[in-house]
């Protein structure tokens, strides 16, 4: 299948998700369940995307585990996104010389 068609579908769906409520929706959501569900979706998505995929992200499970460990520790201490993600890569890079 043409990659251009994939990109059009991706971009179209993503744009409509943003534009429809931004442009046309004026009321407040009142359903407690729906509000709670939407509140949890980002965390659930990010978690499901990260685990277990992160362990395969460097092509070497040992360097990936090292990078993941570094990211977890730095994130636990609330360091900025950019510091956490670059330190994870640096950790994976350096442990790549050992494993």
């Amino acid at each position: 299948m043409s990659i251009a068609i994939y990109i059009i579908v991706m971009a179209g769906v993503t744009y409509l998700i943003r534009a429809l409520p931004f442009a046309f929706f004026r009321k407040k959501i009142t359903s407690k369940f729906l509000k709670s569900f939407l509140y949890y979706v980002p965390y659930a998505v990010l978690s499901a995307m990260t685990i277990p995929a992160i362990f395969y992200s460097t092509g070497n499970i040992y360097t990936a585990i090292a990078g993941t460990g570094i990211a977890l520790v730095l994130a636990y201490f609330n360091l900025p996104l950019i510091v956490v993600s670059l330190a994870a890569a640096l950790g994976a890079f350096l442990t790549g010389f050992i494993f």
Binding site: F33, A44, L46, T63
Partner: protein
Amino acid sequence: MEKKIQNDFLRGMFNGIPIFLGYLSVSFGFGIMAVSSGLSVFEAFMISLTNLTSAGQAQGVVVIASGGTLIEMALVQLVINIRYALMALSLSQKLDKKFTLPHRLLAAYGITDEIFALCSTKENILKPNYMYGVIAVSTFGWVLGTFLGGAAGTLLPANVTSALGIVLYGMFIAIIIPPVRQHKNILFVVGIAALFSVICKYLLPFISGGFAVIISAIIAAVLGALIFPQKDGENE
């Protein structure tokens, strides 16, 4: 920087500089990942320009690389990016009168986690030009990083590019962990999502990566909403 920049567009650009830097590095990782998955630099660049979203793009590339269907692609984007609908709703409550329908349709393009955070916290009333300033500087960082990452991916040594494959996931961890520390309900949701994602990967390998994320995320968010419903005003 106590003196407030009067020009809305310039103030937006100035406040958006940290987003620019963050996007530059994260999209560098995306560019590498996209090219190593078989896309051209131009295709990676176009995905970043038209989507402006990290998680959705990363999973979108996975769908493309695995030859998934367009339905799968649409559902993956819908589930991963549905949070933007909530942010758009929240932002729509504080728009300036200048925000006419054409402005809304244009600015909607730039609703991301970080831009939402900046636009919903730094301004009392959101004006179009301020939001455009933030979007302009952020988008520039996002597409520039994608281009550099995609181009460098073929130039850099293999051990560097493979290590950079973890950059986006590192950012996801940095987003998830601080709230997980503070809120047991979020810890619960994150744990359930990870558990089902692992089950799909190892016990149900016939489920493709995109659907595994959708199924895991929906189960976790539904369980979270049933067991830990949010109190009013808590999910701003």
